[in-house]
């Protein structure tokens, strides 16, 4: 029973995502799946460790380009490409993490943004011979169909992305519940006390940095496999804030926030930009409104209400059960 208690929220959340797949078109479902995996790293950094990262696209690009290089120049197997993307993300974040996590939160945000800009120009201009600059790398036809789950077909790709998403969320839920998760929160709220308790907050932050950015690189590799092409556009400075916006929209630090945020963000982008044609205006003021209203986001506001509703429901049933028993 306790086993189910741990899993039920995950199962419920992903049952709802599956519902999204039933009612909404496939590209949308794929997009939100990848986008929410992309965002959960940022959510973890911001909500658990207190690092606001405007440079998440940098790691997305690392994953995407690592996979793209493999597909374009070396091999054809989508699974290998994904693994290479993830490995590249881990290596890059291990290499730069020790420098970055020493910085204070506001400097961290900007240095990360700078990294995103550097990678953007690296891919667009400096390495243009390999990356084909703004034209991007196209390799959709290079991908070979795989047995069991054929990632080259969008509908089977969704099943794969769904499973990966489930695994990622289970992992982050495990992290949140573990002592390490508590340490991360401690590093966010009170550094000194954490050090006083004998934890090395440099290591805690480094690990969080690597975990979050590896997840982001995974999302990047998934983009590469799903879209079949990669261009510097994914790391352009104008899109640097997307994951932060989605994190805030969904609710900072709440586990399922990125899912809700990704659905809301992608949905609003599709629907509202068609109806009103002025997408920035809405998202900008929504962001300000959410921040002023208490920083909780969509899920953060709904969660207590849901819990209260469930508790009331359970209470009523208990009362009814008692009455029935009498």
């Amino acid at each position: 029973m306790s086993f189910l208690r741990w899993w039920w929220s995950l199962l419920l959340a992903f049952a709802l995502v599956a519902l999204v797949r039933v009612f909404l078109p496939l590209p949308f479902a794929n997009e939100i799946m990848i986008f929410s995996i992309y965002t959960i790293g940022c959510n973890f950094l911001l909500g658990r460790v207190g690092f606001i990262s405007f440079g998440q696209p940098a790691y997305l690009a690392v994953g995407a380009y690592a996979a793209a290089f493999y597909f374009y120049y070396f091999g054809t197997n989508p699974y290998v490409g994904l693994l290479i993307g993830v490995a590249a993300g881990t290596l890059v974040s291990l290499a730069i993490g020790p420098m970055f996590v020493r910085l204070r939160s506001d400097y961290f945000a900007l240095v990360n943004l700078a990294l995103a800009v550097i990678i953007f120009y690296l891919m667009q201009k400096v390495l243009a011979d390999i990356t084909h600059g703004d034209n991007g790398l196209w390799f959709l036809t290079n991908l070979s169909p795989t047995p069991v789950l054929d990632l080259t077909r969008p509908n089977q790709f969704f099943i794969f992305a769904f499973m990966i998403g489930f695994a990622v969320w289970a992992f982050y839920k495990y992290l949140d519940d573990s002592i390490y998760g508590a340490c991360c929160l401690g590093a966010k709220i009170n550094d000194d006390k954490l050090r006083f308790l004998g934890y090395n907050n440099y290591h805690i932050r480094l690990l969080a940095f690597v975990i979050a950015n590896t997840t982001t690189a995974l999302a990047g590799a998934m983009y590469a496999v799903y879209l079949g092409f990669v261009s510097p556009e994914i790391t352009s400075p104008a899109r640097a804030a997307d994951p932060v916006v989605v994190t805030i929209l969904g609710g900072v630090g709440s586990l399922y926030g990125p899912l809700v945020g990704a659905i809301a963000y992608t949905g609003m982008k599709d629907v509202l930009s068609k109806v009103l044609g002025n997408w920035e205006l809405i998202i900008g003021f929504l962001l300000v409104f959410i921040m002023l209203a208490g920083e909780k986001g969509i899920l953060g506001t709904l969660e207590p209400l849901l819990k209260k509703g469930l508790a009331r429901l359970a209470g009523r049933q208990a009362v009814q059960g008692e009455r029935g028993g009498r």
């Binding site: 207190g50 900007l110 240095v111 400075p237 804030a241 932060v244 920035e280 205006l281 900008g284 962001l287």
Partner: protein, 290 residues
């Protein structure tokens, strides 16, 4: 090696670019110094200043008038935003103001798109004359920009050091609570600083407009640069902002002479290098309250 003429042109272009950068970043720096908020919406006033300069110079035919109108609009917009939004978040931490002001920036870009459309528009240069410096022809307009930036720097220096309000602001940068204890209304100082910052950002936009095209995303494009300058100089230091903006201007200008893609990348590499050597920036103080 590089041709000598090219090098001289590069250096002077770098100085004029640095002047624009200085005006762009000074608002951010002032806001951070006094209020400990990261006010990304300064980049919105920058674009608004550029667009107002564009519209006025189109109807009246005088860019300078457009720049002044833009400064007024930028200041008023800054005051409005401060009254409505920032007043509520002064006591929150820095990341909070960063995200909120980013929301204002994006929303403002939406408003600009609504009024002026998506198409980039050229702004005529008000002074087309060229002047010879050490045998190299150079546009006078850029020299005027350099002069304006330097006079703004000395104006701010005089304001902060010689007037009583400026002294109060400087004291506020050191310790807000003591200033409050002396019976000075700190929140009025905040408003004054914000109006000043907004007007200066709009000035930067108006002066930059003839050198580039105005388009709705222009604020987002320079965002990374403005930030980098403030960070290299040290958050909150005006002298540091001046030094680092000229440094970045040179790096961009000379870098583009050596190898074109360097212009965009080199400044960021410089920033990471400086931050690794001195995590608080060139002139930043290690002591930061809150």
């Amino acid at each position: 090696m590089i041709d000598m003429h090219l090098l001289i042109t590069g250096v002077i272009f770098g100085v004029s670019l640095g002047s624009i950068f200085f005006l762009m970043a000074i608002g951010l720096s002032l806001c951070f110094g006094l209020m400990r908020i990261i006010s990304l919406d300064q980049l919105l006033y920058y674009s608004v200043g550029a667009y107002i300069a564009y519209s006025v110079s189109l109807t009246v035919g005088n860019l300078w008038l457009g720049v002044i109108v833009g400064m007024v609009v930028g200041g008023v917009a800054g005051l409005l935003v401060e009254r409505v939004v920032f007043k509520r978040i002064y006591d929150r931490d820095i990341t909070f103001s960063m995200i909120t002001s980013f929301g204002i920036l994006i929303g403002g870009v939406g408003i600009i798109k609504h009024f002026w459309g998506l198409v980039p528009r050229p702004v005529p240069v008000p002074i087309t004359a060229q002047v010879a410096i050490i045998g190299t022809e150079f546009p006078v307009y850029r020299l005027v920009v350099i002069a304006i930036a330097l006079s703004v720097y000395f104006g701010i220096w005089l304001f902060l050091n010689k007037t009583i309000i400026g002294k109060a602001i400087r004291a506020g940068i050191e310790d807000v609570e003591h200033v409050e204890g002396l019976g000075i209304n700190v929140y009025r100082l905040f408003s004054i600083t914000f109006v000043l910052a907004g007007a200066l950002s709009a000035l930067a936009g108006g002066l930059h407009a003839p050198l580039i095209m105005v388009d709705p995303q222009m604020g987002l494009e320079v965002l990374a640069f403005a930030f980098m300058i403030v960070i290299i100089g040290g958050l909150g230091s005006i002298k540091g902002t001046l030094v680092s903006s000229f440094l970045v201007g040179q790096v961009v200008s000379i870098g583009s002479l050596i190898y074109a893609p360097l212009a965009q990348m080199a400044p960021f590499a410089v920033m990471i290098l400086i931050l690794l050597l001195k995590p608080t920036g060139l002139y930043g103080s290690p002591l930061l309250k809150r």
